[in-house]
Symmetry: D2
Subunit: 377 residues, 4 copies
């Protein structure tokens, strides 16, 4: 019998991109066996999908209650060990909560919850139950992001003195300029999407990335957001001033109206000795800048990279890996944690990232509404 | 019961990179079920590996004869449909031959055979038996390579007037300069590797790519190869002049001593109206050059791409995909062929690529040994 | 007799980089004849320098008073027509003032003055006397910056909805971290450098560039600057939130502690229809981003560029021009103005840029000191 | 009186791009005084042009004989010291010959002569008369080309084992495809342009660059050229196999039908220890590739560069210089030579480059016509 981790999936059926992404990622290191799930609120669709992707249908259920009950009824060794929560955003929190309480490990899509209070509640459950909880800030799985984190931690750029992170997209442009579309899309409806659009969706990635690579906490923020139209309630663009310390400042920029930008997520950390820069759209390059030295471009798979970085590269240098590989690396890390193997804290983002992220989103909105005031995180 | 394609694998066990690559690729579109195989000449290792990757062990066998016999003994509907041949190079031909003769479809790693004669023999078997045969020239699976092929086919650059393809690596450098290493590595031993090292390994990729994207046949070549040391019998570098037609010329450059190059495979096709250029290390960009117009950079996933290109992109623009995704696209195409679905001839390279490639390799060596003579392909 | 413009230079002698830059720029279109000047406060040095660079010494003088008197004593047709002011920053204002009052045209290095009040005073003199006044914001002379300005003016990107400008350098890093150096350099001494270091030196370039390419005025700003050390009085880094209109926002980022950055000045303008991006370190590329269209890269010298852009390119495409050429283009524009020829307002920055720039600098410092308050420009 | 070098110019009047390029280059380091010349065969036009560019007309003459006679009639200290020959190609040789024989130094545009025999004749005159002779292979004046040359000379990449040089343009494309145009342009008329178009115009730049940066001589070549149309006598594209030594090979590629390419001139030299790559269109970057080390990108003006490289950079890092600056550096080197100052042999190409270049062109054509035979240079 297979010693793969028994894996359940909630949501992600049909042509769901997120479903494809997670299934491929889970397959990458032969660590997971897709064992059951609720792919769709309609169980017939769920069952058909199971057949389509070639997995047994006996552990496909109609809803979360049923699958939890059914799994708990099995001997512990046979039970699904971890669930991935890929459902619409507003279901992340209740589902993750129920799963953690029932003793399952959870891999949760972003956003973790709709509010900071929910995030705190989830954290307290997890801390009590000691389950593994991963939040799929996928970009942290790239080998060169991991390398950046390790180099900063090892002091290779010296004390950090400035940070700059950008996440620019242009996708909302065709929607926002059409009055009908902007009033009807769920993305701009606070009831369905939470209090923020741009910061909640991508700004929080930028925020998490900054704390991930620097290993530092952002202490306070001042946000200036843009709604573009008076009749639009949600931020679709914004700049946030950052303080990591009295004399360590920076800026976070995010936009969904940066026309023509695809997924232009970049992070730069300037240290006293050197600097590091990375760009998501060309993820296999890490730029090291030092005074009066040639610019250095680090690439994955080379022996000069850290163990954490090398753990996330499957092929020799020059064979480009992409975002599926980044997600695969996160799943690999979670597998180690579930199996009780040793792992590096950089291998997957978790509960703390989710809690801090929700706090960031709420404080960003608060800062903006308070007239661009400084708010402590 | 799953309607996935029942898939067998020969070789590729343990930490084999090629094994990982093929398994991930096969999983990408939920089309294949790894059903059995011979992962290692030692059946104990094979069985352990099956357990490790979590598949049933009942269809793991000691050798090719046994697995063929066992599968043929099963009802046709339960049988493995396609085998991937990932064994050492010299086994590709005999294994593919035996599989085709027994009626299985084959996905074969490169090189297809050790000689052109073997290639012709394999081709005649396949033509008789009508099996599906795919040769994993992985790079043709990239969306922007497919886009390049389609644009050229559609006449977007006009009549081709010049081609230039490069495949530069530096990996053999540390080996070639050490007398002991260069005399002992299997790569430089013609008995183990065939008559060519550089052209056989990477030059043939460049050759195949050129014919793939242009849809044209190279008619004759003149090769100048380099062995670097008198005691080395194998080419590790070379330049090959190309003729596609009397007034359509080009050049193919390949090297394993281009110190510091990783996998620098590029292709440029210059047409009467415009030109297209692509680079493997940054595979998500396709450059369109036109006189007195801005340079255009095409990227995957956009509606301006062809159906063939879009079929190979899983996520929205700005989410980089890599070489695993390219291989996944080839597996996707093979799956369509096996299932009898409609597919585009650009979806996977096959027997003809293998036959032409082996001819190219032998003719390149011949041209070089004949004093850089023109040889017809 | 030459019909070149008779040109005088104040400062810029010896190995002065700024002197070299202006002399080469002035020579580029054969429009100026270096006729006289005060290259150094020590007239002996001035005379030696005149000999060294091969110009007659009879119109070299000991100071500004003398050269003005001497030139005014000449018949008007023989007089120096325009002076370039290349002296230390604190001398720009008094010299420019004296020259304008005496009826000369002026090309002035940046910063125009030490204070906004001085800038207003200078403006009022110039408006009265109607002299030509150019301020050498050199970067606006690049052909692709001019092209960007024209495309925006022509509505090619639609209504502007977001701007982002960056000017990152790392040069002050070795100084700022050494207590002795940071307390002694004139750059960090407000008495010698004015009230701002980073914003006064480079932030103002970014500000001017934004207004130059957009043709819009920035209405209000909120600045957060960084001094890095408590004992340092001057900003060496900062981020400034921008408002062009109620729903048109942006950000300006400038730093002298971005370790390893050389002169990383970039500008991005996002419009409703498309976007444009430009980078000073690779000045011959202009990026046009449109939804669902390939990225377009415009380059100098092509017929698709505007007349203003083409006027600033001397050689066919593919022959890189640089910053000397950008300054040369500004001198070319000034020459047209002096000669009474028709010229485009984009050909050289002038008094208004200087006045607005000084206002920007003072308001940025004020905003920071008022606790990051919004300040109207 | 000025101690600038007295400089004469033949050709280059009016809007001539080459005239502008040389005048700006000569002005860059204040070393030359344009003193006289024959700008145009029509002396009236010459005189008008002198006025237009603001130089005295008394040393403008009707033809070369007259200006030589007039200058020789002056006291030696007052005479023009060096002439730049910017006339149509077929005049380079007779003019340079006459100037050298009359004792003048010469800066000559490329091609130096129309034939190899003429080149040898010119060389023998110069060797006898010991004049300074510079041939303006402009690209060698770029700081990063100089740096490349020095690093190779210093052994930083170890023994050279492979070279690859490319010079791709597309400009002849609109001409070559039009029967009338291709039969009428002087470029494709051997009587006016010499025996080669592509190799004579740009291939020879590539050849010279390779010998310049490597410090090695190419021993033999095998050329395959393309005329594209049967009725076209001249090469407009071609690939040339190179031998520097028995086991040191390479390739030179040049084209004027590489549609959409502007001036894509690149050179790569692969050594036993490391490699260096440079691209003319982005001339301020030099790429150093080493095994298992990050890619290094060297840029001008940094202290890690050689004295030769630094001598050719006028401004701090991050201020892009271009092709005018490259030509300026060559003029600077020639000035040192004329003044008897110490200079590095890399500061300007000279007679030997011209002689070898003409030999290369003739041998390339010969190789092609002999059926792609190896020809010793």
């Amino acid at each position: 019998m297979s010693n793969k981790i028994k894996w359940g999936v909630l949501g992600g059926g049909g042509d769901s991109l997120i479903g494809i992404l997670h299934r491929i990622a889970a397959s990458m290191f032969d660590a997971y066996q897709l064992t059951g799930g609720v792919f769709n609120p309609d169980v017939t669709i769920s069952l058909d999908f199971a057949k389509e992707i070639g997995i047994p249908t006996d552990r496909i259920h109609a809803n979360l209650d049923e699958i939890i009950a059914a799994e708990l009824a099995l001997p512990e060794k046979e039970r699904i060990q971890v669930f991935s929560v890929l459902t619409p955003n507003f279901l992340h929190f209740p589902m993750a909560k129920q799963l953690l309480e029932a003793g399952f490990h959870v891999i949760c899509e972003k956003p973790m919850t709709m509010t900071y209070d929910e995030a705190l509640e989830l954290q307290s459950i997890q801390q009590k139950n000691k389950n593994i909880f991963a939040l799929t800030h996928t970009y942290t799985g790239y080998p060169m992001v991991r390398q950046m984190k390790e180099m900063i931690a090892n002091g290779e750029i010296g004390a950090i003195q400035k940070v700059d992170v950008q996440y620019y997209q242009g996708w909302i442009n065709p929607i926002i300029h059409d009055k009908d579309q902007r009033s009807s899309t769920w993305r701009l409806n606070p009831k369905k999407s939470g209090i923020s659009c741009c910061m909640g969706d991508i700004g929080v990635h930028a925020y998490q990335m900054l704390e991930f690579v620097t290993g530092k906490k952002i202490k306070s923020i001042l946000a200036d957001l843009n709604h573009l139209y008076e009749d639009n309630q949600m931020d679709i663009d914004g700049t946030i001033l950052l303080r990591l310390d009295e004399y360590v400042k920076g800026v976070l920029r995010a936009s969904q109206i940066a026309t023509g930008e695809e997924n232009n997520f970049t992070v730069a950390v300037y240290g006293k000795k050197a600097s590091l820069k990375w760009e998501q759209e060309n993820p296999n390059y890490l730029y090291l800048l030092e005074e009066e030295k040639p610019l250095q471009v680090l690439k994955p798979g080379h022996s000069y990279n850290s163990a954490l970085s090398l753990d996330g590269t499957k092929l020799p240098p020059g064979h480009p890996e992409g975002i599926f590989d980044a997600m695969g690396n996160i799943y690999k890390g979670v597998a180690k944690a579930i199996r009780g193997e040793q792992f590096n804290e950089g291998e997957f983002p978790g509960m703390q990232d989710g809690v801090r992220g929700m706090n960031f989103i709420e404080k960003a909105i608060q800062s903006h509404h308070d007239g661009n005031a400084w708010v402590t995180l």
